[in-house]
């Protein structure tokens, strides 16, 4: 019988569109598998206590804090990190909006902010300022004061809608 109690196991998942297989300890957190095993260091570790959102990735399209998911829980699922948003070499419209609207300063929180914004905009293409602030509650930024982040998300929504029409 597969999946019986194991302290380490083979893990197969799709990361940024590519099938990956690796061996991880049961206790390995998704963020460590991504950074240490797969070299995807765009996913940052800030607080490591599920507060700051720097480690946010998409798991089957939904934003999650990868410091609070066991890597083995992602078996068979699709993970998208910040590297995956611009996999074809072009920056994603959300990334471009953050550049154009000065949505970052030091950039440490930005991968997480952008992936949370991706989740928000995939469900609400035209969010209000209040909706954006509520959605980004789990992403802490110590540089911008958030105003330019909110403006960037609004602009990204406009850009994404423009492309769709």
């Amino acid at each position: 019988m597969a999946d019986r109690p194991e302290s380490s196991s083979a893990l197969s998942l799709v990361v940024n569109g590519e099938s990956r297989s690796l061996e991880v300890e049961a206790r390995t957190l998704l963020v460590h598998a991504l950074r240490d095993e797969l070299g995807l260091t765009g996913t940052h570790i800030g607080c490591d206590t599920s507060q700051c959102g720097a480690c946010t990735v998409l798991l089957d399209g939904r934003a999650v804090k990868s410091c609070t998911v066991l890597a083995v829980q992602a078996e068979g699922m699709e993970v998208t990190t910040i590297e995956g948003l611009s996999a074809d070499g072009d920056t994603h419209p959300i990334q471009r909006a953050f550049v154009e609207h000065h949505g970052l300063q030091c950039g440490f929180c930005t991968p997480g902010v952008i992936l949370t914004s991706f989740d928000l905009l995939s469900r609400d293409a035209e969010p209000s300022h209040a909706t954006i602030r509520h959605a980004l509650r789990g992403n802490l930024c110590r540089c911008t004061g958030y105003q330019t982040i909110v403006e960037s998300v609004r602009a990204a929504g406009d850009a994404l809608r423009g492309e769709g029409s």
Binding site: P5, S7, R27, A63, V64, V69, L70, V72, R137, G138
Partner: protein
Amino acid sequence: MIPAPVRYARATDIDDALALLAEPDAKALAGGQSLLPIMKLRIARPSLVVDISRLELRGVDVRGNELHIGPLTTWDDLLRAEELRRPALSAMAECADGIGDLQVRNRGTVGGSLAHADPASDMPAVLLALEAAVSLRSPNGDRVVRLADFFVGPFMTALRAQELITDVVVPLSELGSGSAYVSVEHPASGFALAGAAASVGPDGERVAVTGIAGRPFLVSDHGDPVGDTEVFGDRFAPADYRRGLAIVLVERALERAKERAVEDR
């Protein structure tokens, strides 16, 4: 921070999960938004985590005069459930919207929160006010426990070692019903310093309070909601302050629930 060494098994069905949970230090893992943080802090050091997150216990549906919430339903699922868009159940989505943050709501589950029984968590107050019950399953069979009897103390419930929540059942009330949840949160953690849920209908009013005591509780006297309950306090919010908040929040929750009950007629 990483959890202490642990073994992992993904349960294939409820019976399989219960068999795995026979191990004395095993813990069931759903969304992990409560269990993983305490495993990382090594407050919890289970020998085995039984991953129940893929069991078919997720979703919201109405059957007869009851609302059934699968314990693996996430907060985000609740926010999107059409079934909750009626004044009698407004408190549920209102409450879910304020839990954690978007990422936590994508993973955290109703059943996980109930089983974890953090005395400051929000939804228990709402489910108490809505007179919910939980269905539990163990190798000895099934039983139903009213939520009012489920919470025993801080992080303690009526759940036995080898037992899982299989359903959360909310009786649906008649037209002319409304519910509401209001809270004052700790600005950093987002947990309730005090929270109050109210449900108002043709058959009367029910109010429940969370965040101020060892467990959430149903209020018996709305004029004196705290009564002789032993109120918890810390350096952020002393007991007297929490008591004051609870009294005001009960009034506000009742007022809002009554407004919604009028809209429902």
